[in-house]
């Protein structure tokens, strides 16, 4: 029942949309594909759905060549980013459409449509046209249609991206319940938001420039990002990535004494490294790495201070509202025990171990 992709490649106009993409999608699990825009997430879904061909590679399901199966026989449902529904059909008929095509009995269709509309909270909207619904409701209709069929594969292409913030959070929470019992369905969900991937995914696949950079459980990917790129994609705000030197027990960044070398980095030979540090693990202090404030975002409960240290941008996330002006010179305190160390190519070397925090505190 697995859906297996092997070395899928697709190049369009010299740009790699998919590059050696290999992955195994397992029934009953939700696979969250996270990546920035243009990372190839949508292309991957379209290939899995059969809407897009590939240059090379293989796709198999239950041992059969899935690439040769036409779209309408792939037993696949898809929810698009842009709430796509049949404009001429009302909500009920929209959800019933695939069921009718599948030749189900009338009573069964009615039962399933009613059931799945209730699941997405649209029970009273059966006779409305999609155009009479809000964006969030339209997306629920699309979702209900995808769920009602009980297909073997369910693809969701950034289903929350075009919704406003409040609705996005609400639907995301509902998704946890909706997808908690997917039985034999392979669920693949793409997103640009780390929080969505972490909350919903049983498995997280990190995509960048057509490649899958890392596959693993949310915890694994979050705590052990394989490369600097993964680290930056999987964190919001993106993890601060900067070059520094380890030498005589000290970490030096841009010529400043940044911090001492914490225990988890102690066995690394002296030399130049790429470091990663989450925005929450950088603070403003009276001594440390000096930089100039380039931008300040205040969300209310938090303040995001963007600081340029030479050419390297930092984001500092601090609680509460802070009065920092553009152009101010500030000093950054880096929490030594939270440093991720990568080699100069960006491959992970050392990761902070969270139970070390208490040791450091002493």
């Amino acid at each position: 029942m697995n859906l297996s992709a092997t070395d899928l490649c697709l190049t369009v106009d010299g740009v790699d949309h998919l590059k050696d993409v290999s992955a195994t999608f397992v029934p009953g699990r939700l696979h969250a594909v996270i990546g920035r825009t243009m990372a190839g997430k949508t292309t991957l879904l379209r290939v899995l759905a059969g809407l897009q061909g590939v240059d090379s590679g293989a796709l198999t399901r239950q041992g059969a060549d899935f690439l040769k199966t036409p779209v309408w026989r792939r037993d696949t449902a898809m929810v698009y980013q842009q709430f796509i529904n049949y404009p001429h059909l009302d909500v009920f008929d929209n959800v019933a459409f695939p069921l009718k095509r599948a030749g189900l009995a009338r009573d069964e269709i009615r039962r399933r449509v009613t059931d799945s509309l209730a699941r997405v909270g649209l029970a009273d909207f059966e006779r409305r046209k999609p155009s009479q619904l809000s964006g969030g409701q339209q997306q629920r209709v699309a979702l209900a249609r995808a769920l009602a069929r009980g297909t073997g594969i369910l693809l969701l292409d950034e289903p929350l991206a075009n919704l406003d913030y409040k609705l996005r959070e609400q639907l995301r929470d509902e998704f946890r319940t909706l997808f908690s019992d997917q039985g034999d369905t392979v669920v693949i969900y793409t997103t640009t938001e780390p929080a969505e991937a972490m909350m919903l995914g049983d498995v997280v696949l990190v995509m960048h420039e057509g490649r899958i950079l890392q596959t693993g459980s949310p915890q694994e990917v979050f705590e052990r990002p394989a490369t600097t790129t993964v680290a930056s994609i999987i964190n919001d705000p993106p993890m601060n990535i900067f070059t520094g030197r380890i030498g005589s027990g000290q970490v030096t960044v841009a010529g400043f004494q940044a911090t001492h070398v914490s225990a988890h980095l102690a066995d690394l030979p002296d030399g130049t490294y790429r470091f990663g540090l989450r925005a929450t693990d950088v603070g403003l202090a009276s001594a440390g790495v000096e930089g100039e404030v380039t931008f300040v975002e205040i969300s209310g409960s938090e303040t995001f201070v963007h600081v340029a240290v030479g050419e390297t941008p930092f984001v500092v996330q601090i609680e509460g509202i802070h009065d920092v002006a553009l152009g101010d010179l500030v000093k950054l305190r880096l929490r030594p025990e939270r440093l991720f160390a990568f080699d100069e190519e960006g491959t992970l070397q050392r990761t902070p171990s969270y139970d070390l925090t208490s040791v450091e505190g002493r």
Binding site: A49, G50, L51, P70, V71, W72, R74, T76, A77, M78, Y80, Q82, I84, Y86, P87, H88, L89, F97, P98, R101, A102, R145, R149
Partner: protein
Amino acid sequence: MRSRLYPVFKYTMIALWACFVAGPFFWAMTTSFKDVNGVQGGATYLPWLQYEPTVVGWRNIFGGAGGVDVMRPFFNSAVVTVAASAVSLVLGSLAAYALSRYRFKLGFIKNSDIVFFFVSQRIMPPVVLVIPFFYLLQWTGLLDTVLGLVIVTVALLLPIAVWVMVDFFNGIPREIDEMAMLDGCGPFQTFVRAILPNSLPGLTVAAMFCVVFGWNDFFFAFRLTFTEVQTLPQAVVALNSSIPPWWTLSAAALFGVAPLILLALRVERYLSKGNLSGAVR
């Protein structure tokens, strides 16, 4: 910026245009209720006051003595127009859907070239086409038959249908096709169940163009039919003898445009509502 005179100017222009458009109809209408005396008395417009209205013209076109029977030509025109429009709409939407959704390539010929090829049929002067059509129909024995005229009319209307529908289908998001396929529809089912039901505005415009062009065609009917089959425009022109019976001619002409006026009134609902926005861009 806009002066207070603007509304005055606007409505004056509209009134002038309305007169310009409605004038000939009014002229034909008054003439159709005249007889020899009414017509020869110079330009008169007001019945009872300036001339004595009679229905002799109208009686003539429905088989009255000394007139013609327009019912047979009317019927021929209706059959040719409806049949040719229907065939053009069916074939035209199929072709247009294919041209809108699939990519064709034959050497240097691509989709846009094929669309242009269709439209170019209407750019060409009809005179160029009528001779080959004549020989084709002669060769197939369809000269002077309703079927022959239907086939030729399809050739005239198909480009319009294709042109309007390609544009319309291009405006329907591809995602709807894709979703229909994911929902279990093959290519043809996708077209019939997901796209066509959403194409009513486009089909309406295409149908309107087809019917108007088909109904108004005089030239091809005139050249390709003779005695057996006569369409309404031919019948009207045939009345134009050395001393034209203007009242009969006017009645026949009005009778001829009546269906189009009724059609326009029905379709106007769509036009004024803006339901066709995106249908013809």
